[in-house]
Symmetry: C2
Subunit: 331 residues, 2 copies
């Protein structure tokens, strides 16, 4: 069966142009996947050829959720918002995945409203594959909801473990909580509560890990509240850019620097590509009954292309079904 | 008047040896500051010369708080723990600062118990000077207490602003909350609560900043809960080491790499020294009635030397008096 990816063409910081052009560039190279561009036809048309390829279709949505709106309220009020229309395409079986660069809170609210949560999941979580010196691990929640409880964290751990096993192919993945100290008695109340729940679970729980451990693959799955995960992942982007910029500056400062830079360029390029978060495309929203991939609000067309690819891959992997199958009713 | 620094010689992951040797090496070079080594004489003696310099003194403390103990309980139970004895030296005016590499929770509990909180401060906070591409900013709380409220965050902001003005010499420092999104309506409940309190305050509050902004000096003071601050600061250590290691590996992989490495060595050294967190010595605990500097549990003798220096500098700057003077009773 052909995969069909619905793209919320109205979301994101840079307006429909970047999204339409990025998605179309990807679609032209991938005729085996159907692309559904969801948005206000009048606003999308200027960025499209008159004749769309047979595997690309426009789906009308007259409204959209703006970045500054209250997400849950806007999602409820604007029934015909592009994110809602896209989610309904998945619910009705007309699409296999939603890809959005819009407001994360709106996407989460719309996913819960239209797709529903999986049995045994109180809150969905956004997961990324975190870069380390020994391959990626699953890191969540990086931004679905804040103010999580210990029970929420324990459920994230379970979803992350299923994702690790099913998508990254890790047998019996290890699970850790990200915390302020390694000792079980340290850290937030919710981390201590989750520690108890995970210690009693059938997951391979290895305890707490600290921020310093993250670059060294401390576990196959690392769990935290979105307030911690979101700052960490964004800081990672910021700080790697910062270090590379500093490196460039140093080479300019020093009389023989440009020669050194020339010699090291291939290595630097290889390094930069490892930190290229755009290639990841975005983060799958785990715990809802459908495939939803949330990409950067700041994503431009290159990253949108990767996001559509990641959405198609996630849909092909049937992650929600796998999580649903593996989830016990109680975490 | 001579400054007198009390060093908790029993704390830390590497036992008294690293602390005694690090503090002594610093003291030998700094005869103008008195050093009080607080610990069990029998356990410290093996690492000391028979004749101590005139400005170094041992202060007996028969007990110590182990890293795995419950901090608040241990501090209450072990009256003669080295951290308690050191704090009492400050309270009685026999010392001007405490420097410790021991359990952070124990140091905070002992400081509250023996020195007390400043008027208008519900919880103390640990502050660091965060490295950026445009000079340091004050970042707190990085680990004093978790599960802070919005009111706590607002108080941290005030203390951080005083520290920024008094120690870093910033006139009318800008203050921001670290959050999951830049919009005021986003993020944790406590961040939203603090947003209201800070908007109504006389501080120059500029709103929310995100993790990606941290390397670019988003504000003079950035405030968050310890769960976020601690992971961020430790991740920063971890990730900068990770990137430098990767750089070295890349140079080894590539046939002409070693030549490039030779050319770039001075620049790399300069960069590494900017990320050398050991030089900071440690983090001052703001909000208690006395100067307390908390350094890494993992600190070895080199960093202990920097920590004693930072403790002496903090004592000289009379930060608690300045915070007390500037704090309004209501935050």
């Amino acid at each position: 069966m052909r995969l069909r990816v619905a793209v919320d063409a109205m979301g994101g910081d840079h307006g429909p142009e970047e999204i339409v052009r990025g998605a179309m560039a990807w679609a032209v190279d991938h005729p085996a996947v159907d692309l559904l561009l969801v948005g206000d036809e009048e606003r999308l048309r200027p960025f499209l050829e008159d004749d769309l390829p047979a595997h690309v279709r426009l789906v009308q949505a007259s409204e959209s959720v703006a970045m500054e709106e209250h997400p849950a309220a806007a999602v409820r009020r604007k029934r015909d918002a592009s994110i809602n229309v896209a989610m309904r395409l998945v619910r009705t079986g007309e699409a296999d995945a939603v890809v959005t660069a819009g407001h994360t809170g709106a996407a989460v609210a719309s996913a819960i409203l239209h797709l529903g949560r999986l049995r045994g999941v109180d809150r969905p979580a956004l997961a990324v594959q975190m870069v380390t010196d020994r391959g990626p691990f699953v890191f969540l929640d990086i931004g679905a909801t804040t103010d999580s409880s210990g029970l929420n964290l324990a459920q994230y751990a379970r979803m992350g473990a299923i994702y690790s096993a099913q998508v990254l192919g890790v047998a019996d993945p290890s699970v850790a909580l990200l915390s302020i100290g390694e000792e079980g008695g340290k850290g937030e109340a919710r981390v201590q509560e989750a520690t108890k729940l995970l210690a009693d679970s059938d997951l391979r729980f290895i305890g707490n890990v600290e921020g310093k451990d993250l670059p060294h693959h401390p576990a196959d799955v690392v769990v935290c509240d979105a307030s911690v995960g979101n700052v960490t992942i964004k800081f990672f982007e910021g700080v790697s850019g910062f270090i590379f910029d500093m490196l460039r500056t140093e080479f300019r400062r020093w009389p023989l620097g440009p020669v050194g830079y020339l010699f090291m360029r291939p290595g630097l390029r290889r390094m930069r590509s490892r930190f290229d978060y755009e290639r990841l495309g975005g983060a799958p929203l785990l715990g809802v009954n459908g495939t939803v991939l949330i990409t950067h609000g700041r994503a431009r067309r290159r990253m949108i292309g990767y996001a559509v690819a990641a959405g198609a891959a996630a849909a092909g992997a049937r992650i929600p079904e796998r999580i649903a199958a593996a989830l016990a009713p109680d975490p």
